[in-house]
Each structure stands twice: as C-alpha cells, then as structure tokens.
C-alpha cells in the first residue's frame, strides 16, 4: 500500500512537471489585454488604506516604479509608454515623504527624452518641488530642479536661480554657489555641463547614478572629439576639393594617426563627409545642444 501511494505521488509529481513544461512550450500564460494597471491612483486614499504599513507600501511602489521604467525602456514595443511612472512616484513619495531617492531618481527617469524616458521635465520639477515642500532644507532637491532646468530645458536663468537657492540651504556644498555663477555667465557651455556631471559623478550615492554621470561625461568628451574630427574632415575637403571616403584617406593625408574611437572604444563613423557616433555605441543619443553653441 505504501509503495503504491509513493508511486502514485511520483507519477503525479512527474505529471505536474511535464504539464508545466508543455504549458511553457506552448507559449506560457495567455497575454493579458491590459498589462499596465494602477488600481489606486489617489495618494490620499492609499495613505489611509496603508494603516501602519505606509513605509513598506512606499517601498513596493518604488520597486514597481523602477521596474516600470526599466521594463518600458528595454521594451521593443514601438509605442512604449511610461504612463504609470509619475503616478507610481507620486504614490511612493506621498506614502513616505522622506523617500529622497524616489524624488531624485524619479526626476531623472521622468526627464529622460523618448525613447529612454517619457521626456517630462515638467513632471520631474513637480516631483522635486513636492520633495522641497516636504523637506524645505534639502539642498539636493533644489540642485536637482536646477539640473533639470539646465540640462533638459536649457533654461539657464532658471537653472542658475535654483542652484543659487540650493547654495543658500543648510549643508549645501561649497561648489554650489560658483556653479550658479558659472551657469548664469556661460549657461549651456559644455565646460559648465562637464562641471555639473563631474560633481554628480563624485557625490552620487548609488552606483547607477554615478555610472550615468560617467556616461554623460564620456558623451561630452565624445562631442569634443567629434568637433575636432569634423574640423579635420573639413580641412581635408578644403585642400582636396572632396570629402574623405574613409579614415584611411585622413591618415594618408596626415590628419590622423589611427582609427578614431569614442571614449567607450567604439570607432567613429565617417559618412558623406560627416563624422558621427557609431549607432552601436552606448553613448547614443548625444544630448542636444542649443543652436548658438553649435
């Protein structure tokens, strides 16, 4: 009897595993008609429903926001939408108004231009202003608003104003006041952008943001190199009367010593007399600079 029961258990266990494998082979669960759904959008309602679990719920919404951003960014869907990103961040910061990373990272996620993000610097600023209302002494939020104004809106007056405001808050670093002055004097200057990212790369609390700052610095280096290479191509065209067809032409003419590569090691591309990043380079897309600086 015991053996029969044991055999029956083994058989049934095998059947369960086999059927699960068959299920997977046939494509797994059916695709749900609606994948992105947020049942409760009101932060006030959620704060009340959370009882004493508000901080834990904030963590869950934060994880969901990170997953939503990362999942949408990696998605191959042509019409990918980040429509849940702001509501998730709003819920996170309402449930835990001191969730500083949610304000700071959230503003970065929201500002990023499509397809890397929703391209909503206005929502990023709204989120950071909410953070400043909750914690008026946090210079990091004022600096982050200045950063969004500087980098994504290219509004250097506003950026300088926010950097100045950040510099006046307690525990603001010494470099904040000079940054405000530099931004006002030379806003949009690649050098002031480099200064801003350099500070972020040095002071960022988490690896992800630090790495992003390093990538931005590499982008700025690449933009400098592209300008130099373009000048070499233009000089070649001026002397030879035609654009070089490859890097070898420039090497033979003495303009270059090797095949130029971007800071990640990916060779630059030369196409119809224009120098550009290789589409496979992870520095794509380069930030858009104001026309007056081009």
């Amino acid at each position: 009897m015991k053996w029969r029961m044991a055999l029956l258990c083994v058989f049934l266990f095998g059947a369960v595993v086999g059927l699960q494998a068959l299920h997977e082979q046939r494509g797994g669960p059916l695709v749900r008609p609606v994948s992105n759904l947020l049942y409760v959008r009101s932060p006030e309602v959620m704060s009340r429903m959370a009882l004493s679990y508000d901080a834990l719920l904030a963590d869950l919404y934060w994880i969901r926001a990170v997953q939503h951003y990362g999942g949408t960014r990696l998605s191959v869907e042509p019409d990918r939408q980040y429509d849940l990103l702001y509501p998730l961040l709003d819920l996170t910061t309402s449930l835990d108004p001191r969730f500083n990373v949610a304000y700071l990272f959230g503003s970065i996620f929201l500002s990023e231009m499509p397809p890397g993000g929703p391209g909503r610097p206005d929502l990023a600023i709204a989120l950071l202003e909410k953070g400043l209302r909750a914690q008026p002494a946090r210079w990091e939020f004022a600096q982050a608003i200045g950063f969004v104004q500087y980098w994504w809106r290219q509004d250097y007056q506003q950026a300088a104003l926010w950097f100045r405001r950040a510099s006046e808050l307690p525990q603001a670093p010494d470099w904040m006041a000079p940054l405000a002055a530099t931004t006002l004097a030379q806003g949009g200057n690649r050098q002031s952008s480099r200064l801003l990212w350099l500070h972020i790369a040095r002071t960022a609390e988490v690896d992800w943001y630090r790495n992003e700052a390093r990538r931005r610095l590499q982008q700025l280096d690449a933009m400098d190199q592209l300008d130099l290479l373009q000048r070499a191509v233009d000089a070649f065209r001026g002397r030879q009367g035609m654009a070089p067809s490859s890097w070898a032409d420039l090497r033979e003419a003495g303009y270059l010593r090797g095949t130029p590569a971007d800071p990640t090691g990916t060779p630059y591309r030369l196409q119809s007399g224009a120098v550009m990043l290789d589409p496979r380079s992870r520095l794509n897309p380069l930030p858009v600079e104001p026309p007056r600086l081009r």
Binding site: L51, V66, Q67, R98, F105
Partner: protein, 268 residues
C-alpha cells in the same frame, strides 16, 4: 501572583506545542530571501527597504499571533469544558484571566525577541555588502539601535491588541472576537481622521460623536514610529512616555473589563 505565573507558563507551553514559534522560520526566510533579491529589484535604498520590511513583518506576525491566540484563550477552555476543572481548583477568576494574558504576552515577547535578533543579523550582513563610502550617506547605520524603540512600541501595541482580543473572548465567539479585534485595529489607525471629522461634516451631533470616538477608541497610529527611526528622525522621549502610559492605561482598562465580565459569567 504564583497562580498567575503558573497559568502564564502553561499558556506559553501550549503555544509552543501549537507550533506558534514556526512563525520565526517564516520571518527569517522572508528577510533572507528579500535581502538577497532586493538588489536586483530596486535602485538603491536596499537597507531602508529591509528595515521597513523587517519592522512591518515583526508587527504583522505579532498581530496575527496576538489576535488568533488571544481570541481562543478563554473560548478554548469553555469549549473543551476544561474551565470547570480549572475553576474548581484554587484559581480565582481574575487570576485565570491575568495569567492567560501574561502567558500570551510572554509568547509575544519571546517571538519578537527572536525576530529582532534575526532582523539585526540580516542587517549586519547587509552592512558588509556596501563600501564605507555608500554607508556614509545613509541617514542611520544599518544596525541602528534606535530601531529597538520602534520594536518596543510595536510590542506595546500588540499587548493592547491582545487585551482587546482577550476582552472580546470573555463573552463572544472566536469569529466575532477576531472580527471585532481586527475592526478596532483598523479603526484605531484612522484616529487622526476622527479628530478632523468636524471640518467635513455639517451637523454638530456628528462632529461631537466623531470627537467622542476619537477619545474612546484605541489610537493605534500613536504606536507607529517605524518611519521616524528608519529615517533617523528624532522621537521625543516625552512622546514615547505618553504613548507608553496611554497603552498601559488602556490595557489595564480592558483587562479590568475582561475580569469583571468573566467574574459574572455563569458556566452552569
């Protein structure tokens, strides 16, 4: 006093026999699994999330133990008819009630103490996973001893829940006792809303009623300082003392009520 201690020890032994301490295994497994997975799921804030989860899990496991054991403390004895044998011994009815309460309080204390140890072990491990540079920007260290304050207030909150469950179990069925205890626990978190009710209602009667409920119903939200300790915000000692005094007074009230009701109960 010795009689109360005897009853209490028996309640503790019974809860150990009922595998209540298995909840510790679930707690430890949950924390270890989450601490392993959390780095893959989030961008920073790993230690904050472990702290939030650990404190919430301690509160939840404790709440479930307090309610589901608390409602059966008296009812079980009546249902098994062992109450006749017990009351025929030299045990006075108030000693029986207080012993039952002390036994469950001891079970909760042992349970929470072991969960706290597991919690700090996981946090100490998490502490080793980050470089000193990353740790320097945390608002508090991973093994911040101030979290013990939040755990102590959770314990006091659970003692109050236990007193409520025991109070209801002296005169009602387990299902009704559980529903009423959970109901009070939920309503007790909306206490602040009751205070502000007068600003949203037009009738003075409703406003007065809400105000009265605000003073009468247990204010469970007062025991919640989890967010403050996780963010290393100050928790004034006067606040802790007032909350502790409030909790002890409410527990004393409920136990007195339970003793009075149980003393008048006819088991014939």
């Amino acid at each position: 006093m010795r009689t109360i201690a005897h009853v209490a020890v028996n309640v503790f032994k019974e809860s150990v026999r009922d595998k209540v301490l298995y909840s510790l295994v679930a707690f430890a497994t949950l924390l270890i699994a989450v601490s392993y997975l959390i780095g893959q799921l989030t961008a920073g804030q790993d230690v904050k999330i472990i702290k939030d989860l650990g404190l919430a899990a301690i509160a939840t496991f404790g709440l479930l133990i307090a309610v589901f054991i608390g409602i059966g403390l008296v009812w079980k004895e009546v249902e098994r008819r062992s109450i006749y044998g017990l009351l025929s011994k030299p045990i006075r009815r108030h000693e029986f009630i207080l012993g039952k309460y002390a036994g469950l309080a001891l079970t909760l204390f042992v349970n929470m103490a072991m969960m706290t140890v597991a919690f700090y072990v996981v946090l100490a491990y998490m502490n080793t996973q980050f470089p000193a540079e990353a740790r320097s920007v945390w608002p508090a260290s991973a093994t911040d001893p101030r979290m013990l304050l939040a755990i102590a207030l959770i314990f006091l909150e659970l003692l109050l829940v236990t007193a409520i469950a025991l109070f209801f179990s002296t005169f009602s069925s387990p299902f009704l006792s559980a529903a009423l205890t959970f109901g009070l626990w939920v309503v007790g978190h909306f206490n602040a809303d009751l205070r502000n009710f007068e600003s949203v209602v037009e009738t003075r009667t409703a406003a007065h009623l809400a105000r009265a409920l605000y003073y009468v119903l247990p204010n469970f939200a007062a025991f919640d300082v989890k967010a403050q300790v996780v963010h290393a915000l100050p928790v004034p000692s006067a606040y802790v003392a007032t909350t502790a005094a409030y909790g002890i007074a409410y527990i004393a009230l409920l136990l007195t009520g339970a003793v009075v009701i149980f003393a008048r109960r006819d088991f014939k």
